[in-house]
Subunit: 219 residues, 2 copies
C-alpha cells in the first residue's frame, strides 16, 4: 500500500473544506492505493477510519476459526465502506483488483469541525449499507442456489449497465458471498446459460439474454 499524499495533507486541507458535504471526504481524505488481494483493514482491527472507493473493487469478508468464509459485500467506485457500530471491525476488507481508496479518520472530522456537515452523508451511507444487508439476509435465508446466483448476476448487471457485464470477482468470492460452494455456483451458471437466461463468452464476463427471466428469478 502506498500513500499518494502525506498525512499532513489532512490537516492542511481541512480549513479549506467547505461547500457541499459530499465533497468533504474528497477534500480531507488521504488517497491510498492497494494491489490486488492486499488487505485494507483486518478483522478485529479498530474501526476508526472511513473509506471511499475511487477505482477498483473491494470486498469485505469474515473468516471463522475453522476456515469458513462469508463475504459481506462488494464495493465499487463511489461506495463508502468501513463504517461500523462496534469499536472493532466484524469484517476485514481486501482489494479484489488494484484499487485507489480515499481514507478519512473520523476523529479528524471532529477536529476540523466538519462532523455535522458530514454526518448526514454518513447516516445515509450507513442506512444504505443496512438496506443491502437486509437484501442479503433475504437471499441467504430463503433463496435456492439457482435464485441466489441469478440475483447476483442481476445485481452486477444493474450496477454496470451496458451490453457486456464484467465479473471482477472469482468464483470463490461469489460462492462465499452467496453462502454456496464454487462447484454449485459453477453448475448454476451453466444452468442459467443452458436456459438462455445469460451467456458467458468467458468466465469473467456475460451478457443478459432474457432480462425478464433473470428478474423473475432474482425477485
Amino acid at each position: 500500500m502506498t500513500l499518494a499524499h502525506d498525512f499532513q495533507d489532512l490537516m492542511n486541507a481541512a480549513p479549506a473544506a467547505a461547500g457541499r458535504s459530499g465533497d468533504v471526504i474528497e477534500r480531507i481524505g488521504v488517497r491510498m492505493t492497494f494491489a490486488k488481494d492486499e488487505e485494507i483493514y483486518g478483522q478485529d482491527e479498530e474501526a476508526e477510519l472511513i473509506y471511499k472507493v475511487l477505482s477498483g473493487v473491494v470486498r469485505t469478508s469474515s473468516v471463522t476459526s475453522d476456515g469458513r468464509r462469508q463475504i459481506g459485500d462488494f464495493y465499487y467506485a463511489g461506495d463508502l465502506f468501513g463504517l461500523e457500530a462496534g469499536d472493532e471491525h466484524r469484517f476485514s476488507a481486501e482489494a479484489i483488483t488494484d484499487c485507489a481508496v480515499l481514507v478519512l479518520k473520523s476523529s479528524a472530522l471532529n477536529a476540523a469541525g466538519l462532523k455535522a456537515e458530514f454526518s448526514r452523508d454518513l447516516w445515509r451511507a450507513t442506512a444504505h449499507e443496512l438496506d443491502r444487508s437486509q437484501a442479503h439476509i433475504l437471499l441467504l435465508g430463503r433463496k435456492t442456489a439457482y435464485e441466489r446466483v441469478a440475483s447476483f448476476l442481476m445485481g452486477l448487471a444493474r450496477r454496470h449497465p451496458g451490453d457486456t457485464v464484467e465479473v471482477p470477482m472469482s468464483r470463490q468470492d461469489m460462492a462465499d458471498y452467496l453462502g454456496l460452494t464454487i462447484e454449485t455456483v459453477s453448475r448454476m451458471l451453466t444452468q442459467l446459460q443452458a436456459s438462455a437466461v445469460v451467456e458467458f463468452p468467458s468466465c469473467r464476463q456475460f451478457q443478459v439474454r432474457n432480462q425478464g427471466a433473470l428478474a423473475r428469478l432474482a425477485a
Copy 2:
C-alpha cells in the same frame, strides 16, 4: 391498535423537549399499543416513522409472493426499529406479544428543530442494526442448523440474564429467522437437550446447562 395520547401531543411536547437527546423520542413520541399478531406497519408501506418498543416483543418480516418468509430481527423493550434507507419498508413489523410502542414521525423532528439533537442517536441505532444484520448474514451464510439454533438460544440468554430464559416467539418465528423449517429447529433443540447443553422444562422456556459448549457452538 389504540392511541394513548392524541397526535396533538407531538406538537405540544416539542418545544419542551430539551436535555439529553436520548429523551427526544420519549418526549415527542406518541404511545400506541398493539395486540399479539397485530401489524405495526406493512411491507412496501412508506417508511417515515421511527418506533421504540416500550414493552412486549416485535418482529420484522418479509414474505415473498410464493409464501417464503424471512424474519429480519426481534425487538425488545428499549429497541428502536423501523429506520430504513429506502422510501418503502423492506420488512413489515408485527407484535408477537401484546406491545406498547412509541411512534415518532421523523419529519416532526425537522419541524421541531430537534433533528440535530436526535441524529446522533439515530445514527447509532442504524449502525447497531447494521451490526446485527451482519451477524445475521454470518449465521445464514455459513452456519449449520445446529449452530444456528445454538446461536439463537445464546442470543436470547444474553439479552435476558437470569436462570430461566423465556422464549417469546413460536418455533415458526425461530425457523423463519434462522432460515430453517420448524421441524429442523425442533430436532436441533432436542439434540441440544440430549447433549445437555440446554434444558427445556417447557417449550417456551429453557435454562443453559453448559455455557461453554453453547458459546462454542454459537461462535
